[in-house]
Amino acid sequence: MTSWASVEGLPLPLGATWAADEGAYNFAIYARHAEQVTLLLYGDDLRTPVLTYRCDPGRNKSGHVWHCRIPATAAPGARYYAYSIDGPRSAPHQFDPDKILFDPYARAIFFPPEFDREAARRPGSNAGRAPVGLLVAGPLDCNFDWGDDRHPRHEADTVVYELHVGAFTAHPSSGVKEERRGTYAGLIEKIPYLVELGVTVVELMPVFQFDPSDGNYWGYMPLGFFAPHDRWARARETCEQHAEFRSLVQALHAAGIEVVLDVVYNHTGEGDHRGPVYSFKGIDNDGYYMMSDRADAPYEDFTGTGNTLNSANPYVRRMILDSLRYWAREMR
């Protein structure tokens, strides 16, 4: 007899995960007010999905979570995934099935060569020009070999060193090989310097994926709370990108250096009502964000960044905690 899960998918864990025993992906996304959730799987052509799956709320929804199970054989060549979501069009909602939405739980986000921030700000389709999630047909840890990695724990000898992965080695004077400048791998080359200086904790300015075109190089406008920023990796595939980040953490640990992340959970890079619709806005606008009662400024903006994540929503709180646990456990 076929299992319920293999027919309907499971609402947990959220995100796209791999059910190895079935050779299938499980997709689960919170979208409380949505009336139609359509999963889109893509190969290299990001305008034409290789598979379009319209979730049936009668069997692909549990509580506020939409979910489905897609065998890999049903979507040959699939490398990327995204959603198209419809629902009430009036405020405070912002449903627009024309917009291609990435999964807030995506572990790697791909910005295609035709990526266009403006297309996500205008009415109409942004297919082929939207950031999308990458699929991984494998476990969360990508079978990364952590070896005998251990977290150093410093006490009286704690000296924190705050750095930006890009700015630290981007300059030619860094002495880092050109193809590694401004990357996770470039920072690895500087570990002997950190040891010579004597610092024992490295605090990385935000490494969560942000929009490479929004001009905020520091990274304080995050989009992907589960995705390391791709421009600081050389690879474009999820596991290879993650391996570059994990190798950095592993090498710092091996040198006796703790790693601390500067994390940003109070707002996202979607900005205010003039900003792009990439994900959260089109999934559950007033669920993810704190809304005001001012028509000309619908988003509460407590930090001058355009919007404010609504952590009073238990699903947003869950996302924040899931993200923290993910970085601490899977990325160490």
Binding site: E155, A156, L163, G166, F168, Y217, W218
Partner: protein, 275 residues
Amino acid sequence: MRGDPGMIGAMMQRLYGSSDLFPDDVVNAYHAYQSVNYVTSHDGFTLWDLLTYETKRNTANGHDNSDGPADISWNSGFEGEDGAPPDVIALRKRQAKNLLCLLFLANGTPMLRAGDEFLQTQGGNNNPYNQDNETSWLDWNRLESHADVFRFARLMIAFRKAHPSLCRSRFWREDVRWHGTGPAVDLSDDSRSLAFSLSGASQGDDDLYVMVNAYSEPLPFTIPDGAASEWLRIVDTGCLSPDDFRESPHAVPLTSARYVVGPRSVVVLQRPRRG
């Protein structure tokens, strides 16, 4: 270190680990390490720019120079780097060492902004959040041109790590004694001097004596504790490198309990533990 009036109490509080913000009373029981000490972070001037600019130069960010914080900076007597007289450059370097020295002497968790150890500059831009260019990128050439400051930072970090008496789980409590140029601390508005002794015995560590002169003239300090010859002079930021930090085999015992601390300088003495 800018020499502002009425700052001695505030400096004591920050060196102590900020028990005003993290009270270690019975109800709260905060640890000193929960307080993060820093002179600079990514928000605001770099350490060098803090000593070089009084006016931010953020026009490249595209907001008519309206963005970025209002830093509590001092240009050391000349605005900017181009054409700065040698004595201004020397003062800036000494001030950089003073700030690094106090950062790594204070109880609590120290945080250093990358590049400050070799005087990274952003040309006065104190908010280059959108400058993916040489404004933000660390210029590693400065590691060579400011090797003296790098050496000082490296040795201060090593000194801190060698003296767990400085960085404690708890506040310094009864192990610290506050002084001025004489035995008594001077908290008056026009005071520019502070000294303290930190007993290391409870931590199995050496005793330390620190003298801070934030005044523009030299000040004679008197060490009220023990015989002068027991104390080794480790740091004197009034001296040029490498005399600014003498590693222990080269540290020289004091010959007098009176020590003249140069203008805007910090001195650290060490008395080896007995037995």
